[in-house]
């Protein structure tokens, strides 16, 4: 669906508390257009729980159960079970969580909910750090990135939660990025119209966390995909396919140099030539594997 044809309903109300240029709210606006009114969000501690603003007001126009940091998927399990008993399975329980609450502290609950075949959608927006608490490293933080707990750059490579989720063999696993709204919308819509456990991970470049100008949020997401640092894919009942620009790369288009993307982010300012070589060769290796599959 073209951008101009996307639904006009707004479930995220203006005047919310997000930073200017926040990728989370771009993603959320689009996702909610696909999910619609019959959605119950379960939101663990993360930027979104603050973006809701302060009691007694909320910036979200769908029901939200805020929940403890590690518990989002367990919360969605409870909502899903109750909806089934109440004969309200036309309502979709959706977790809306950051990478912190998904990759790290929330991974146990996520894995359990997936393995149990829970009827819900889990959406992880990934800004590659604990942004809500002020830019600390997470399991999703990439190699070499500055954070307030990795002042000289993270020494480890990030996990890939999408791969871990795929190992649970659920009906739908997909990745998206805010720079490709049609692709994101289509994926959320497809997930909504399926049942069982569905997982989406949305790439969300964060201006204060990654140190770039707030007007460049969409550009950062685009460049991440164009350099191959972030991959757009969709796996339906075990059949994996790359989508959108990532599909083009797989089919032969050259990836833009990764340095172009790294250079634009203050969090990578401390990378040495050696670091960049490491990142480059690891990325090349990954894409060679993708092409070999």
């Amino acid at each position: 669906m073209a951008i101009k044809d996307l639904p006009r309903d707004e479930y995220l109300l203006k005047g919310h508390a997000a930073c200017p240029g926040c990728p989370i709210t771009v993603a959320l606006r689009i996702a909610l257009k696909a999910l619609g009114k019959k959605t119950i969000l379960v939101i663990p501690a993360c930027c979104s729980s603050v973006i809701e603003a302060l009691y007694p007001k909320s910036a979200f126009n769908v029901p939200i159960l805020n929940i403890a940091f590690e518990a989002a998927a367990a919360g969605a399990s409870g909502v899903s079970a109750a909806l089934k008993k109440l004969d309200k399975t036309d309502i979709t329980p959706v977790v809306w969580a950051g990478d912190g609450g998904s990759y790290d502290i929330g991974i146990q609950a996520l894995s359990g909910a997936l393995e149990r075949g829970t009827n819900f959608i889990y959406i992880c927006y990934n800004n590659q750090m604990y942004s809500n608490t002020g830019i600390q490293r997470s399991g999703a933080t990439p190699y070499g990135a500055w954070t307030t707990t990795t002042w000289t750059g993270k020494k480890e490579y990030q996990k890939e939660l999408g791969e871990i989720v795929r190992a649970h063999h659920i009906p739908y696993v997909a990745t998206a990025a805010i720079s490709y709204p049609e692709d994101l919308y289509a994926k959320v819509l497809k997930a909504k119209n399926m049942s069982g456990p569905r997982y989406l991970e949305i790439f969300a470049p964060c201006p204060p966390g990654w140190r770039f100008d707030m007007s460049k949020t969409i550009e950062m997401a685009r460049l991440a995909v164009e350099t191959g640092a972030w991959v757009l894919y969709e796996e339906i009942d075990g059949r994996l396919a790359f989508t959108s620009y990532s599909k083009k790369i797989l089919e032969g288009r050259d990836r833009k140099p990764i340095e172009d993307w790294l250079r634009l982010q203050g969090r990578f300012r401390y990378l040495t030539e050696d670091d960049i070589k490491k990142i480059k060769s690891r990325l090349d290796e990954k894409w060679n594997q993708y092409k070999a599959r």
């Binding site: 996307l6 203006k14 005047g15 919310h16 709210t25 771009v26 603003a53 009691y55 100008d213 969409i218």
Partner: protein, 81 residues
Amino acid sequence: MKTAISSPTIGAMGKTGTWRVFRPIIDVEKCIKCWRCWIFCPDGVISRNDHPRIDLEYCKGCGICAQECPVDAIKMEREKK
């Protein structure tokens, strides 16, 4: 019984337009109605009318709309004091 229940409210964080340092100005002549500005706006303050209109009460001035417009129809201007 009191528990932490909040109601959906426009302007929940107040008039976030006051956060702005730069404001977007749209040149409607150049606009091709692709509506990228509308979909990429993190605050949903751009409305779909005859041409994009920006709700300056809530626009935070991030500049994404200006950055993403394919025909450079949006410029960011510094707010006058």
